[in-house]
Symmetry: C3
């Protein structure tokens, strides 16, 4: 990959980290936590998924701890929520949904890609991609002593899983990795946005 | 070990994974989670203990992620509960208790054995065996925002601890490893089953 | 470092482990858990922070599992609370606060130091030091299905963060590592004790 593409990827990655950090800090603010609580939840939400993936594939220290800029961006997200909360609360819900769906797609695809590079089986890579996408939000909810939202509602982890699966299917069809990633990411993003728009939900056991 | 014995061990291991996965998915169903929630809790319950053990002893990626069949079996457990829940709910409680005790014994002994192979101190191997047995259920309960059942009630982790301790004592007495494993496993299994049957509980601090 | 200093460090480390283990077991007793619950929470509170740090920096098996004496001390703490709970409950709150602040300072500084030795960036080392100090208590609270106290109240993680930051600043000023550690530890300890005494709290978002 040329350095131009690498730089683009880094910028996109940092943008996703910032979006997730702002969401984590907002959840902390709603739970009436103090400034440190905002920082911790921003960090956990933004970096938790990637850290779990890296620990599981044995790439330690995790990438987001090898480069101090990731933690710095996570804390920037907390600071934005703390000092500009009136502004953050004014952001339209639709924009947050779109940004979050983009972050989810990005993290899921990047996680799948990294797991493949580390020689994991495609099926396991799909799971690790999903964990990368939803792991941070899960850690955040566990720290807030709540059942993780991804287990409970809408098509969220499912979108990540579908995007990863499509990416891996495209790779199996001998498509170039970059194309596979873009198609997988678009599937995850669209599925997430459409599912909110159309109120899709996964089936449950009736009377379970 | 000859390949015949290896194959038997693999089959037993897969059977234990399936039992724990069904239990995890059943807990998810009771908490009114959707299909994805069932999959996640089946995965966490069945593979969580072994994954924690492998991360702690530094054997990453964890064994259950190196072989895609473990995840596949976990999801099969979730599918069984989802599509055949009427059937699963009809399984007698006694059978579930016996299968679960067998899974617990198997996981605890396998965990102790692996920790010893990786050169951990016998005392720490005993702890890691117990974590292998009860770790998955603990992760499941944390994800359901509940105090883990193993901390709260009956002789469960204690049975795993006792089985591991007996296995290690047998090894110290220069018994062959396979015999030590069988004796330790029987102690764990019997202690668990008898403790439920006789309503045994560990002591608590009175008025604490 | 000469062996005399090493021995002193080991004694101090074991003392900190015991204090945290007693606190974890006391929390378990208050939640009406049984003897095994006390052992698990003592273990998690005393060793959780260091284990998380070691998994993240890739030093597995974690130091506290390589030496069986750490687990033994953690379980000793649980036994002390179980058998001598009348005595433990009679310990003045001020003494507990001072011992806990000392343990926090010790763990935070030792964690920062180890992260630096493993080549982590100073900013990330500061975070890892803080995680070492507060990680155990966080795991304990998650297992009790509570929002971790460190996210919610007073200057606790903040004291660890400040101590780590001061230690790193002193290192940057080319102070000898041992001096930097002592100054950082004193900052963490004093900040914690004074903040309880003066009822300091971190700011929150008003009306958030």
């Amino acid at each position: 990959m040329n350095s131009e593409a690498n730089r683009l990827l880094f910028v996109v990655d940092i943008a996703g980290t910032l979006v997730f950090a702002v969401e984590g800090a907002t959840a902390a603010m709603r739970a009436n936590l103090d400034l440190l609580g905002l920082m911790v939840l921003a960090f956990a939400t933004a970096l938790g998924g990637g850290i779990i993936r890296d620990v599981l594939i044995g790439d330690t220290p995790p990438a987001s701890l090898r480069d101090w800029r990731y933690s710095a961006v996570a804390f920037t997200g907390a600071a934005v929520v703390f000092f500009l909360h009136a502004f953050v609360q004014g952001v339209p819900g639709t924009l947050i949904l779109v940004l979050d769906a983009a972050g989810l797609a990005l993290f899921a695809i990047a996680g799948t890609q990294k797991a493949l590079v580390f020689g994991m089986h495609p099926f396991v890579s799909m799971l690790l991609g999903t964990i990368t996408g939803v792991g941070g939000g899960t850690v955040r909810d566990v720290l807030l002593a709540q059942v993780p939202g991804v287990l409970r509602a809408d098509v969220y982890a499912t979108a990540a899983l579908a995007g990863s699966a499509v990416m891996i299917a495209c790779c199996k069809l001998r498509m170039p990795r970059a194309w596979a990633a873009v198609i997988g990411g678009l599937v995850c993003f669209s599925l997430r946005v459409i599912s909110v728009w159309r109120h899709w939900n996964l089936p449950r056991v009736i009377g379970g």
